[in-house]
């Protein structure tokens, strides 16, 4: 586990000192985070790091995970898709199971949640917990990590009543925020520069992935790291690769993904990807376990360019991770990718496989520009998207929630 001081080498001591000063008035406060999976997905990754750091700052912080059956995860996966805009009809039986699962989890978690000063509920899966806590004493905040800018209305209409009684909500981007009768704070997520996924690697470990996955180190490599999910458009990435390969015959593509425990749709998408790849030996489709962080890290560092051709995206932490490794990103012009990929500076935003191919060809033919963009990308992440900034914003929010109507809060 990394301590706050170990981040100082990357962020500067001033950032760590600031966190300590900000947290000082909240020492001893009881904080609980709740989500639906301990492993897999960006939320779990952030909580694995954020919770120990909040404890180190003197806040009594716990992380609880709700449990459900397959029907529960099928239902919440449908919520996820619908909130991102897909028309999804969810059977009534799944909705009843969703509510019952939350009621059961509420019973298990009641002592801890009722006693907490601040409760962060992450995403829709545990959202109904609040309804089953009439004797709660603390402040409850719903943290939405999903792109809800244009939700499928019937599903949003179903979920919204569960959110109305929260004291506040947090959204990754202002575009995602939906009308709710409480303050809606904006906090982009972050990456941990010291995690296995992002830490500097020895050259030998980077080189090892060439042999392991039969990649030719002497030919250009583009990579997309993502779950096999239609919104990530892995099939579109393969089409883009094909267009570019006409001009760059040596081009290689890696699609590296896994399957989170709450993602039953992944297998169907994976089959579509295999079909699209059509046994091309230069397309490597990797199904990596959820703890293959160093492998993903090495693959990103071994790549010339990282793609994230999503058609819908919450924030796109894989983009942040790639930029941290000094790689330019060709990303879909959507959601949080637009906050990170700045055209001609940190990468390119594209809307089609053809666009991805065009930008791939451009960068591979202008190595100096590719290098320069990578350098800028890393600095941009250092300034804005590291875990320490995220932690600071949570602390800020915990302070201002007590002064909802003040523009300026002066701590003693």
């Amino acid at each position: 586990m990394q301590s706050l001081e170990s981040y100082a080498k990357i962020t500067g001591q001033d950032v760590i000192t600031q966190l300590r000063q900000l947290a000082e008035p909240m020492r001893g406060m009881k904080v609980v985070h709740v989500n639906s999976t301990r492993m897999g997905g960006g939320v779990a990754e952030i909580l694995h790091k954020l919770v120990p750091l909040m404890n180190e700052l003197g806040l009594d912080t716990h992380w609880e995970v709700i449990e459900g059956n397959n029907d529960f995860y099928q239902c919440t996966k449908s919520f996820h898709n619908a909130l991102q805009g897909n028309q999804v009809v969810i059977p009534e039986s799944l909705l009843r199971n969703f509510e019952e699962t939350n009621r059961e989890n509420a019973e298990k978690l009641r002592p801890k949640l009722e006693d907490a000063d601040i409760v962060f509920i992450h995403d829709p899966q545990p959202a109904p917990l609040l309804r089953y806590m009439p004797d709660r004493k603390g402040t409850w905040i719903w943290r939405c990590h999903i792109d809800v800018s244009r939700p499928y209305r019937p599903v949003w209409k179903y979920l919204r009543p569960f959110l109305l009684d929260y004291d506040a909500s947090i959204w990754s981007l202002s575009d995602f925020a939906q009308p709710l009768p409480h303050p809606q704070y904006l906090v982009p997520p972050s990456i941990d520069p010291l995690s296995d996924k992002n830490i500097d690697l020895p050259e030998s470990e980077i080189n090892a992935v060439y042999d392991r996955f039969d990649i030719d180190p002497n030919r250009p490599l583009i990579t997309q790291v993502s779950r096999y999910d239609r919104f990530k458009d892995p099939v579109g990435v393969i089409h883009g690769y094909r267009y570019a390969k006409r001009f760059i015959p040596g081009l290689q593509l890696v699609l590296a993904g896994g399957s989170a425990t709450d993602d039953p749709e992944g297998e169907a998408v994976l089959n579509e990807v295999y079909d699209a790849a059509n046994d091309d030996p230069d397309v490597k489709i990797l199904l990596l376990p959820s703890d293959a962080h160093r492998t993903i890290n090495a693959l990103q560092r071994a790549s010339d360019i990282i793609l994230q051709k999503s058609t819908r995206e919450g924030f796109g932490l894989t983009v942040t991770e790639a930029m941290w490794k000094g790689r330019p990103v060709i990303g879909g012009n959507t959601g949080g990718i637009r906050l990170q990929v700045i055209n001609h500076h940190t990468g390119f935003l594209v809307s089609t496989p053809e666009g991805a191919a065009l930008r791939t060809r451009y960068l591979l033919n202008h190595r100096d520009i590719l290098e320069n963009m990578g350098t800028k990308a890393k600095q941009f992440v250092r300034d804005h998207f590291l875990l320490t900034r995220h932690l600071g914003e949570y602390l800020t929010l915990m302070v201002v929630l007590k002064h909802e109507h003040a523009d300026r809060v002066e701590l003693a």
């Binding site: 904006l186 600095q379 800020t396 201002v400 300026r408």
Partner: protein, 228 residues
């Protein structure tokens, strides 16, 4: 802070910003003007100043979000350029600043027969902010300590003292100038150089380096002169 008299120390403060979505969005100039008439004054603060503390690329083309949106989402260069010359420190209150922005938008609406629309996903989202201010352990009694202390000061502390101060203080000056101006000593040339620093087109880290270099140069020159 330290408004001041001689010997009053300069106590560095720091700040963080909470950004809050208002739910108000504009897709064209008319909607922007209409919302501007009613949004919380905190929105005006955020879109002129507060944005400096949130993720933005290090080569900002415009000094406020309204101008940037008119340029990039509406592709209306004329109104973008007019908005870009609005100096927020030149207004006594956020309400006066609000009126100026509305005037510029109305002038442009009057000029145009058809108003351009932004794409749905490029609407302007009005955001307001709450700022949290807290003390640090850094305090100096002598201006000559300024160059040394800068390496330990956070970028957001620079925001507080050099940018936020312009709205906070009656004469719209940064805190360093206010402090130095209240001391006995010949700081006229330093104050003039501080006044020349344009904080809007550099990152906060670059601004910190720029100020640090400026203090370093001034006080090293002063000590050289003193020893001669």
């Amino acid at each position: 802070m330290n408004n001041g008299t001689e010997r009053q120390p300069f106590a560095f403060k720091d700040c963080t910003l909470a950004a809050i979505a208002t739910g108000k969005r504009a897709q064209n100039l008319r909607e922007m003007r209409d919302h501007l008439q009613h949004v919380d004054a905190g929105c005006i603060y955020y879109h002129f100043w507060g944005g400096r503390l949130r993720p933005q690329f290090d080569e900002p083309e415009f000094n406020n979000d309204f101008a940037a949106w008119c340029k990039h989402a509406l592709r209306d260069d004329i109104v973008a350029e007019r908005l870009s010359v609005v100096d927020p420190t030149g207004f006594d209150s956020l309400e006066d600043l609000r009126s100026e922005v509305i005037d510029i938008l109305e002038e442009r609406l009057y000029e145009r027969e058809f108003i351009p629309w932004a794409k749905t996903e490029e609407q302007f989202s009005f955001i307001r902010s709450q700022i949290v201010v807290f003390g640090t352990q850094h305090s100096i009694d002598d201006p000559r300590e300024l160059p040394g202390v800068f390496q330990d000061i956070s970028a957001s502390s620079i925001f507080y003292h050099f940018i936020d101060a312009r709205r906070r203080t009656p004469d719209g000056k940064d805190d360093f100038s206010t402090w130095l101006g209240g001391l006995n000593g010949d700081y006229a040339s330093l104050l003039a150089r501080l006044a020349d620093v344009d904080p809007y087109f550099v990152t906060l880290s670059e601004l910190r380096d720029q100020l640090s270099g400026l203090f370093e140069e001034f006080f090293s020159h002063e000590s050289t002169e003193g020893s001669n």
